[in-house]
């Protein structure tokens, strides 16, 4: 049955491809949709790796918080015509107390190779605009199913936060984007795994059948204009100094 449904999906994609080809270009990726990702951060694992933590402190922390399960935070990726926007889902006011949410919007244009981010962090609002730098991906020999799609595994490295990043991408969805600003793979990234489980961003639903998708690009983008290099340098400096000060930088900085 399941195999059958995959065959059905294949047929859909096939049909889609025929349309592309007739449309003129093999590389036209007019696939659009909205993906919901859940981001979970494993602070115990992150803190355990900090150099100042002793074995005793790590055990104490796992003992106290090890069974505490976070619900994670939902994010949306809107994509259409080689462009995508990724942002956290608005938090529902559930327990009757509202905290102001930090702004976090990542816009990617894979056709014009441009990025535009609005990130509120470390007490500032940054507006990062510039060319999209190509990431170096290694393709690994693993396959897995996520949200109904068969995915392949790829790996890259983030020197700013010293992270090994694994991406699971569905080559069945011909959009080169993904969550957390990652992209450039032959298909849509449905999961990002940072440092083997420290933070995992997994697609929980993939909606490709929408009539139309609009990217909720903010009308007015405020914030300090800054280049990617400068922004990375600020984060790198903060992470380094905070670790030197024997504290965890990732309470403040997104892991």
């Amino acid at each position: 049955m399941i195999i059958y449904s995959i065959v059905m999906i294949q047929k859909k994609i096939l049909l889609g491809f025929l349309i592309f080809i007739i449309g003129g270009s093999l590389y036209a990726q007019d696939v659009k949709g909205v993906v919901t990702y859940n981001r979970k951060t494993d602070y115990i694992s992150i803190i355990s790796k900090l150099p100042h933590m002793t074995k005793e402190e790590v055990d104490r922390m796992s003992l106290t918080w090890g069974n505490w399960a976070s619900e994670g935070r939902d994010h949306h990726l809107f994509f259409k015509k080689n462009k995508s926007l990724y942002q956290p889902k608005k938090r529902e006011n559930d327990n009757g107390y509202s905290w102001k949410q930090d702004q976090f919007v990542l816009i990617r244009d894979y056709k014009n190779k441009e990025r535009e981010d609005v990130i509120e962090t470390l007490g500032n609002l940054y507006h990062i605009k510039g060319p999209l730098v190509k990431r170096k991906w290694k393709i690994l020999n693993e396959i897995r199913e996520i949200a109904g799609y068969l995915c392949m595994k790829a790996e890259t490295y983030n020197p700013i936060k010293d992270q090994t990043i694994h991406a699971w991408f569905a080559d069945g969805i011909t959009f080169s984007g993904g969550p957390e600003g990652f992209g450039g793979l032959p298909g849509l990234i449905l999961e990002i795994d940072i440092n083997n489980g420290d933070a995992v961003i997994t697609a929980t639903s993939v909606d490709l059948d929408r009539e139309d998708v609009t990217l909720p690009i903010p009308k007015k983008i405020k914030g300090k204009k800054i280049t990617e290099e400068k922004f990375d340098a600020i984060i790198k400096k903060y992470v380094k100094e905070t670790i030197e000060g024997k504290k965890n930088p990732y309470w403040r900085v997104r892991y």
């Binding site: 995959i6 007490g123 290694k138 298909g187 600020i234």
Partner: protein, 937 residues
């Protein structure tokens, strides 16, 4: 129709690539030579699989990479439902390359449906090996690997235990790549527990020839490798610290933990006669494990977000039960010679949203206090001074047991049942000699001996239910609790008081020789409910209800002892029964959106106080209270984020506290003949209004933090006393309500680094004023105290091996009196401390801690300094730094004493002073000393 278009495209592409770079092309088909259209083709670098380019196959299954720079590549093709395939493209080719037809093999249906779809397990391909994660296949606890294998797709286990994979015999089973107990594959699968396995790999068994040549053939046999799980969450740890020193000092502390994902078990024990190195917060956290921060749950609901802010009623902290609870949080406080023993056992179980935790704890503390004190009082016409020497020997023992069960029934329902019980015994023997003077002239001396033996117990049960609804934001919480407490005091009181005339001769003598038995009992039933209804995305309506009934009974029997006779003292013997009911209902409207929270609420409360008071035996009721007090209690709070990372709040609350029935009873309490208390039936609740505001801001990049707080409190009606002092200095006091009492408090703190991570500082200033009205000999007296408390701390950590921590704090208090301004005074207490930790040569650490306290009072000529210097030297020893040996010198100047000083009272208590201690620590997890202190945030 399609192929001409394609050819055209291919032509266009070909034209554009006429450089040194070349192209790589091929065709992708399945095993039956059917072309696979739009399969993904990746071009990877051979060295590390870095992706260079990707494309998709055309309608004829063909693909082509243009403009490829020379190098060694891998062409990797993937297609849904097929096993990805790789083809090596060597580097030596300089011309366009055709890799030919790439035939892809379909993924076995079972692997696809069972492993990938059902178990959600990734499969990994390593050449001919397909590997999947065994942990995703659920088997019952205690299953063997064989049971696990029976569930895995493509694997069959015969009745004799032999294994087949993909229809081929498994002739070898390895564990972590190593042969397991020789050649019999069943030995491993039949004996190893399934829980210990993380991965199962199956691959073709290679002949020796194939191993060497790398050639592959259709093997007839398979090898299975079982990879073992790392012991992640299972473990045990423990620590013991033992020390012995001069002055017969001893310290011992130990803990032991065992835990896995479901169970946490721990033991802790502490014993010392130094009052130092007792149970620290870290020890407590090790002991309680996942329950360390499980405090709340039983409070009364109130206004505020999610019902968090709450009321406490009926002695949450000050009731009869606090006499029992305080035994377990015994702080030896200021001075004295302590001897403490405590320890306990904790067990937590957590599985599938169910938590069970149980604690037993025993606490024994003894303290001997030998000291003297001086108390001054000021009246309009005269002043009094009471000098006393005291010797106090206190020993308390307590057993406490707690059981808690919580369960998330589903995502909407939560239930908690908590019970606890405690049993205590306390013995206090006190001797006191006092001299009371009026304007410097001796008026009386007392010689008092008290021996109090207390036994008590309590039992408490709480049931709590929380329900969320499908509608977001709607929630309901209900809880009910029952408390039963009983306390029995047996008190022998002997005192001789001599009163002196003006000629300094004994005028009269009062002798008290009494045996006093006092049994008190409290039963309290509480029930609370809270309901939150979202009116819109931004508005919430919250309603709460608190109910409490408490019955308090007391039976005090006082017998005068003369010789061997005991005579009931009917004046002092009493029995009472009090019944206090509270109903409180409140409702609030809250706006919560984008970091702005505004709450406005109004509550109404009704106290119903009934009390009967009588003597022992058949004595008629001599006092009766039947009062109802009702009050409106408004509430307002606002908090928002005016600037980034800056939070501001404003609040107003009004509190009404009911008077105690003891104070309402219109009777005379002459238990203490020097201080007689008369009840006041006209007493009304204490009502105060409090306004507060706060602002805090942090700047993460610079590490600067600022905090500002201000509050002001007006007492509409405040409990106070009206005292009448006669010429023999016997005080008669009556509880009254006064108005005009008020206080304000402003504080600010600033943290910032002077040099990041090297020198950081924190400063704080607190200024406050408090005006307390009271009546003495019918004259209203306002005591006004104005205090300033500056504080500064500097942390200096220039290198990893050195940490220096400097602190200075002062407390200035100016006290002024309305009726006796000559007694106006100012006190100043300063504390300076400096701590240095250094890692020196050969892993030897040094720690020096100097603490200098200074007490000054201009009115009483107090000028007292207490310098305390503690030094220690320590080194880690044994393999893995599991041991530490430490020599400590405490109080090098031999100056330690317990000293307190306020505007009217000073006391001094002998304390353990200089001693040297040698201690040894053994920690299973190893010891990692640092010259720097850690702070979490």
């Amino acid at each position: 129709m399609k192929s001409p278009l394609l050819s055209l495209l291919l032509c266009l592409f070909s034209i554009s690539c006429l450089s040194q770079n070349y192209s790589i092309k091929g065709i992708v088909t399945d095993t039956l030579d059917v072309t696979l259209i739009s399969s993904t083709v990746l071009l990877l670098e051979q060295s590390d699989s870095t992706m260079v380019d990707f494309t998709r196959t055309e309608l004829d299954g063909s693909f082509k990479f243009e403009q490829v720079t020379p190098g060694a590549y891998i062409v990797k093709t993937t297609y849904i439902g097929y096993i990805p395939k790789t083809v090596n493209v060597p580097a030596e080719n300089k011309e366009d390359i055709d890799v030919g037809i790439i035939k892809m093999v379909e993924l076995a249906e079972e692997l696809m449906t069972v492993v990938i779809k059902a178990a959600k397990a990734p499969i990994k391909m390593r050449g001919d090996t397909i590997e999947y994660d065994a942990t995703t296949f659920k088997v019952p606890e205690g299953s063997t690997v064989e049971d696990l294998l029976k569930r895995l797709p493509g694997i069959e286990v015969e009745s004799d235990g032999s294994i087949m994979a993909d229809g081929k015999d498994v002739n070898t089973v390895t564990v972590d790549g190593k042969a397991f107990f020789g050649q019999d594959p069943k030995a491993a699968t039949k004996n190893l527990p399934a829980e210990g396995i993380s991965k199962v790999q199956v691959f073709d068994t290679k002949t020796e020839e194939e191993e060497i040549t790398g050639a592959t053939s259709q093997s007839k046999e398979k090898t299975m490798n079982l990879e073992l799980k790392e012991d992640f969450k299972n473990g045990g740890f423990g620590k013991v610290i033992a020390g012995m020193g001069t002055e017969s000092t001893k310290e011992l502390k130990g803990n032991y933990n065992r835990f896995n994902k479901k169970i946490q078990f721990s033991l802790v024990g502490v014993g010392n006669n130094t009052g130092r190195n007792g149970l620290s917060w870290n020890d407590y956290q090790d002991f309680m494990g996942s329950q360390s921060f499980n405090f709340g749950g039983g409070t009364d609901y109130g206004f505020g977000g999610g019902g968090w802010r709450s009321f406490t009623f009926g002695g949450g902290s000050g009731g009869l039960e606090s006499n029992i609870q305080s035994i377990f949080f015994n702080n030896s406080g200021n001075g004295g010679l302590p001897e403490n023993y405590n320890g306990g056992i904790n067990f937590n179980y957590e599985h599938n949203k169910t938590k069970v935790s149980s604690v037993y704890y025993y606490n024994q503390s003894g303290i001997i206090r030998d000291g003297n004190s001086s108390r001054d009082r000021f009246f309009q016409e005269f002043t009094t001074n009471e000098e006393a020497t005291n010797l106090n020997d206190n020993l308390s023992r307590g057993h406490r047991i707690e059981l808690e069960f919580t369960k998330d029934i589903d995502s909407l329902h939560f239930v908690k049942l908590k019970t606890n019980g405690a049993f205590i015994n306390e013995n206090n023997q006190a001797q006191e000699n006092t001299e009371l003077r009026k304007d410097g002239v001796l008026t009386s001396t007392s010689d008092i001996k008290n021996d109090i033996n207390t036994n008590g117990y309590l039992g408490n049960a709480l049931l709590l239910l929380r329900k969320k609804f499908k509608k977001k934001g709607r929630s309901l919480g209900v809880n009910a609790s029952y408390l039963y407490t009983e306390l029995e005091d047996n008190w022998t009181q002997n005192s001789v008081t001599n009163f002196y005339n003006n000629a300094a001769e004994i005028d009269s003598t009062a002798i008290i020789n009494q045996l006093n038995t006092n049994i008190r009992n409290k039963k309290q039933l509480k029930a609370n409910a809270l309901y939150v209804e979202p009116l819109s995305e931004k508005f919430f309506w919250q309603t709460f209800y608190n109910f409490s009934n408490r019955e308090e009974t007391g039976d005090r029997e006082v017998n005068d002892i003369s010789g061997s006779e005991r005579l009931l003292n009917e004046d002092l013997s009493r029995t009472y029964i009090n019944n206090i009911d509270l109903d409180r209902i409140g409702s609030s409207l809250r706006y919560s959106y984008e970091g702005v929270n505004i709450t406005m609420g109004l509550g109404y409360q009704r106290f119903d106080l009934k009390g009967d008071f009588k003597g022992k035996g058949d004595s008629p009721i001599i006092g009766k209270v039947d009062k109802i007090f009702t009050n409106w209690i408004p509430h307002f709070s606002l908090n928002f984020e005016p600037i980034r990372n800056g939070y501001m709040s404003f609040g107003y609350s009004r509190n009404a506290t009911e008077p105690s029935i003891d104070d309402l009873q219109p009777i005379v309490n002459n238990l203490n003949p020097q201080y007689i208390v008369i009840g006041n039936p006209g007493l009304t609740p204490e009502i105060n209004n409090r306004f507060s505001t706060s602002f805090n801001h942090s700047h993460p990049l610079s590490g600067r933090r600022i905090n500002l707080n201000a509050s002001i409190e007006f007492n509409e009606s405040q409990f106070s006393t009206s005292e009448t002092v006669d010429s023999f200095l016997i005080t008669t006091a009556q509880p009254i309500n006064v108005s005009g009492g008020r206080s304000w408090d402003v504080s600010g703190s600033l943290n910032f680094p002077i040099i990041k991570n090297r020198i950081t500082t924190r400063m704080r200033l607190n200024v406050g004023q408090n005006i307390r009205p009271s009546f003495v000999n019918d004259i209203k007296n306002n005591t006004t105290s104005l205090s300033y408390n500056p504080y500064i701390r500097v942390n200096i950590t220039p290198v990893d091996a050195i940490g220096i921590y400097l602190t200075a704090r002062s407390s200035f208090v100016n006290t002024t009196y309305d009726i006796n301004t000559s007694q106006n005074q100012s006190t100043r207490n300063d504390t300076y401390s400096a701590e240095l930790t250094a890692k020196t040569f050969a892993g030897i650490f040094l720690n020096a801690n100097f603490n200098y306290q200074k007490f000054k009072n201009n009115r009483f000529n107090v000028d007292r300094s207490i310098p305390i210097l503690n030094l220690s030297i320590y080194k880690q020893i044994l393999k893995g730094n599991r041991g530490e040996i430490r020599v400590s010198l405490y109080d090098a100047f031999n100056k330690n004493v317990g000293f307190t000083s306020s505007d009217t009272y000073r006391s001094e208590t002998q304390s353990l002073a200089r001693y040297v201690m040698l201690s040894f620590t053994y920690n299973i997890r190893g010891i990692q000393s640092s010259a720097h202190k850690k702070s979490w945030w």
